[in-house]
Subunit: 249 residues, 2 copies
């Protein structure tokens, strides 16, 4: 800091907010270059590093995109919308106050669809079916299909092999300790579905009741899919909350 600063708020944050507003108000038309780092530094009486720090936030928010040698550009208006932000605890704060109850133990069996979604050559996967309870009440039902390597890695987990057994484990947590490469990302798809007979029984809801269906494919750092989880949630006891932040096209 120079000398006469009142660091109540960081200079780069002030600049970032100012630029954010200007971009959201479309002061910079699509494809038009924003002022250069040097220009902004001069205008605002800060160093180029401070300008860069502000742009880092805007890039992280997806509001601008930068090209060396060319400049900085506002995210294209085309399809510009709101970007996912924040955490996913609401959905996955599962192992906290919940317990897992095995309905069908982990077993190796043929499942062409699951195998294909895991991008396997063979047709066999390892499958375990369970439900989760919160204070004794079931609120979701999950079928997990595993890559054979992942499935055999879990073969020795007692609680997954025993029908009716309960624990507070998560599959991803178990895999983490047993796979050579850690799980790094997932692809998720959310939709709605009617409860079929087994689902209705497991969840204690009327048949054909509307459920929230979440399909998730987990990938290791190598990009190898290792787990496919299909979960049905009771909507009364559950909703998926997200915060969205503006930016990106």
């Amino acid at each position: 800091m120079t000398s006469n600063d009142q660091p109540g708020e960081a200079a780069y944050k002030v600049l970032a907010r100012e630029l954010r507003q200007a971009i959201l108000r479309r002061r910079f038309a699509d494809g038009v270059r924003l002022p250069t780092e040097a220009e902004l530094a001069a205008e605002h009486g800060v160093s180029r590093q401070t300008v860069r720090r502000a742009f880092q936030d805007l890039v992280a928010d997806g509001l601008v995109h930068r090209v060396p040698g060319r400049g900085t550009f506002a995210a294209p208006r085309e399809g510009q919308y709101l970007r996912q932000f924040g955490s996913i605890e609401d959905l996955m704060g599962l192992s906290l106050d919940t317990s897992l109850e095995v309905l069908r133990p982990l077993r190796r069996l043929v499942n062409v669809e699951a195998a294909s979604r895991l991008r396997l050559d063979s047709d066999t996967v390892y499958t375990v079916v369970f439900r989760r309870l919160h204070e004794g009440n079931p609120f979701c039902h999950t079928a997990v299909h595993l890559h054979p390597a992942a499935g055999s890695a879990l073969a020795d987990v007692r609680t997954l092999a025993t029908p009716g057994a309960t624990s507070d484990a998560t599959i991803i947590g178990l895999l983490d300790d047993r796979l050579p490469a850690p799980i790094a990302e997932a692809e998720q798809s959310i939709t709605a579905a009617a409860a079929d007979a087994p689902l209705a029984e497991a969840l204690g809801c009327p048949p054909a009741a509307p459920l929230l269906r979440v399909d998730r494919t987990y990938l290791t750092t190598d990009g190898q899919p290792v787990e496919l989880a299909v979960t049905h949630f009771l909507p009364e006891q559950y909703s998926y909350r997200i915060k969205l932040k503006r930016g990106l096209g």
Copy 2:
């Protein structure tokens, strides 16, 4: 750069990747402090600034959390999961190939629940109901409730005032150009619901069919809620896809 650098890959990126792997593999137990910036700088033969740059990425990914004066900590294992990432075009790529058809025109009316969710003092909001079509087929039904200021700002929009009128507009797009402060973020909640009679008719599905229900509250940069949208999607023609990245607890 000093002199003997081979800038094939930035030093801070190498360090960031190394730390990322170590954290995902839980080399640092919950609540344990990571090495300080100075220690990492010395270990890796880089400057403290470079270490900071690496940590910036990890913070952005939600993998670590830092406290001035105390240190840097891996995201708590408890509930550690996958973090939202990527864009939301799949959900909101609406105005592209779709058209909006007004079912009930924009009008001012009393709605206690909507007013309270918009944090209004009064009980009256502006409401418009429409559905969206893709290639002539309806795929979602939306009721939009607006803050009075926002509602009156849209009072002159012909296509919202006319039942049966179609357009390719989005409410947020219309508001953007008419509100003093731009819309910056939204809070969203996703659940499942059964189709009631009006929904079934508007969407052409059987009554009690399962639908994906998305409630969204839009906020301006001031944090003022201006729009509440309740949308029901046909699951057959629609699913909400997200990519998740590891990190955060």
